[in-house]
């Protein structure tokens, strides 16, 4: 009996010690945490930088960050790189964002284009709530947030014959990829939602085999596209459009016109424009790579392999 009690005591104490050691490892102060239907949601703050995280231990899981004193200044490089879409279509009126995060992209776009209608689609209602409460996510009659699976929203929008000038696909992170948002069929549905000048900007995290499969799938649906990459990041932005890709002089011209407009948001569009690499000139995957389809889309398994 005594043995049992001592074992129990040891178990409880070691448990408490381990959990406290783990919590001090995490950076910053946790100001909100909850377990939603899909994930653990954490809001952390460290010296004025507030971040949304979907898990604790992995460093890859920062979803969205905001400077508390300067909310309109964009923090992440990938969010800045998304603005390369404007070099293809500088005046988007209807914007669809799949994957809300903290809602920072929606907020910033509203400031740049106050008249644009922005539809945010987010699968997790808890994330929408956190964006509202901790990241000043702003909604009005033009800016809405729909709690729905991205694929279903897109399918219904196709039936309603809706059109968007800019579709931002930001539903992936380094930990988990929704496989039904990677397939040829899905990209075809997205393509049919794009207006004549429409641009798709997808923020993706594929490495190794998946990189090849994903690239081949985008090429099969859209033809040539732009890769926008940072040297040090694991993610890339895929920029695809219905029309043929614009020539470098048009891009430079658009960059010049947008420079003033975007600099308050910490976006150096000229620098970003130099990072755009067309697959027409640089195809960095084997041409015979298989496509991802609704029948074959083991994206997470492909991303594991080296």
């Amino acid at each position: 009996m005594n043995k049992l009690i001592t074992t129990l005591l040891i178990a409880i104490i070691s448990n408490a010690l381990i959990s406290s050691a783990l919590s001090t490892q995490a950076m910053g102060k946790t100001i909100h945490s909850e377990r939603s239907l899909y994930r653990n949601i954490l809001v952390e703050e460290d010296s004025g930088l507030r971040c949304l995280k979907f898990n604790v231990k992995s460093a890859k899981t920062q979803q969205s960050c905001m400077l508390v004193d300067d909310p309109q200044r964009l923090v992440f490089n990938y969010t800045k790189m998304l603005f390369s879409s404007l070099l293809i279509n500088p005046n988007p009126e209807g914007i669809l964002i799949i994957g809300l995060g903290g809602g920072t992209m929606s907020n910033v776009l509203h400031q740049i284009y106050p008249k644009a209608s922005i539809t945010n689609v987010e699968i997790d209602p808890a994330v929408i709530k956190v964006a509202r409460n901790y990241f000043d996510f702003f909604e009005n009659k033009n800016i809405t947030a729909v709690a729905q699976d991205g694929r279903i929203f897109v399918k219904r929008a196709v039936i309603k014959k809706q059109q968007y000038d800019w579709i931002i696909l930001d539903a992936f992170n380094g930990d988990y990829i929704p496989e039904h948002l990677m397939t040829q069929e899905f990209l075809q549905e997205v393509k049919s939602l794009l207006s004549d000048n429409g641009v798709l900007a997808a923020n993706t995290f594929s490495v190794s085999k998946l990189y090849n499969y994903e690239s081949a799938t985008y090429k099969a649906v859209f033809g040539d596209f732009f890769n926008v990459k940072n040297a040090n990041n694991s993610n890339r932005i895929i920029l695809a459009s219905v029309k043929a890709l614009p020539k470098p002089d048009i891009i430079a011209q658009h960059a010049k016109a947008l420079k003033e407009k975007l600099s308050p948001f910490n976006v150096d569009i000229t620098k970003i424009s130099h990072k755009m690499i067309s697959t027409a000139t640089t195809q960095d995957w084997p041409p015979a790579s298989p496509l991802l389809t609704d029948q074959y889309s083991p994206a997470n398994l492909l991303n594991l392999k080296n």
Partner: protein, 225 residues
């Protein structure tokens, strides 16, 4: 002659266990692919799995009931094989007409919970009911001694649930990486049909041997007199 006959009888039970193992393998393999099949129309949220698992559990429960009832009348390997063939045929629509069925349901029902529930009903109810009939029918064919009925049932559950475990892991870890969803369904279907045919052939062979055996033993009996 008696020796040969004993051989076929000796192989009968292992074959029934093998068939039960395969049906367990196929049930979970199909269930797992169900998530993949529904995702393009109904997403991949937790309620998709709620729908799929509900439909599989519900149809298995009806299958057990129906299989038990069926086993009371003239139970034979022949009929056992027929169940497999029917199951193999019943899962073919999953590969061939799932798109049209799901599209119609997607258009008719806005709420993805009920949409996915109805779609899994339409696709998986009938084949899973038929697959559910296999377990009780196997018990009927295997049990000869009342005292050992619990042991036989226990070993059968062991084998078929082991099949389910392997069907789950092999499908989700490897098959989806190697083949298209419809191809995997087709393989399950043809495997079930082939196993059914094997059981029926076995039944034939057994029957002819039995009658031959009876014939010879009768003759022997007559000679002794």
């Amino acid at each position: 002659m008696t020796n040969e006959n004993n051989n076929t009888i000796a192989w009968q039970n292992p074959m029934i266990y093998l068939l039960a193992f395969s049906s367990g393998f196929c049930i979970m393999g199909i269930e797992l692919l169900g998530g993949r099949i529904l995702a393009p129309f109904f997403g991949s949220s937790v309620h998709i799995w709620g729908s799929i698992i509900t439909v599989f559990m519900l149809s298995l429960s009806f299958g057990y009931l129906a299989g038990g009832k069926l086993s009371t009348k003239a139970a034979s390997l022949h009929r056992y094989g027929l169940i497999f063939i029917c199951a193999g045929i019943a899962i073919l629509p999953v590969a061939f007409s799932s798109q049209g069925i799901m599209e119609a349901i997607f258009l008719a029902i806005e709420d993805t919970r009920y949409g996915s529930l109805l779609a899994s009903m339409a696709l998986f109810f009938i084949p899973t009911v038929i697959l559910g009939m296999i377990s009780p029918y196997s018990v009927r064919l295997l049990v000869t001694d009342k005292n050992k009925s619990g042991q036989v049932a226990g070993f059968l559950y062991f084998v078929s649930t082991l099949g389910s475990a392997l069907g789950t892991i092999i499908t989700s870890f490897y098959l989806v990486l190697l083949f298209e969803v419809d191809d995997i369904i087709m393989v399950f279907s043809s495997a079930l049909i082939m196993l059914g045919i094997t059981a029926m052939i076995f039944h034939r062979v057994n029957q002819s041997k039995n009658s031959l055996n009876n014939h010879t033993s009768n003759q022997q009996g007559a000679a002794d007199e």
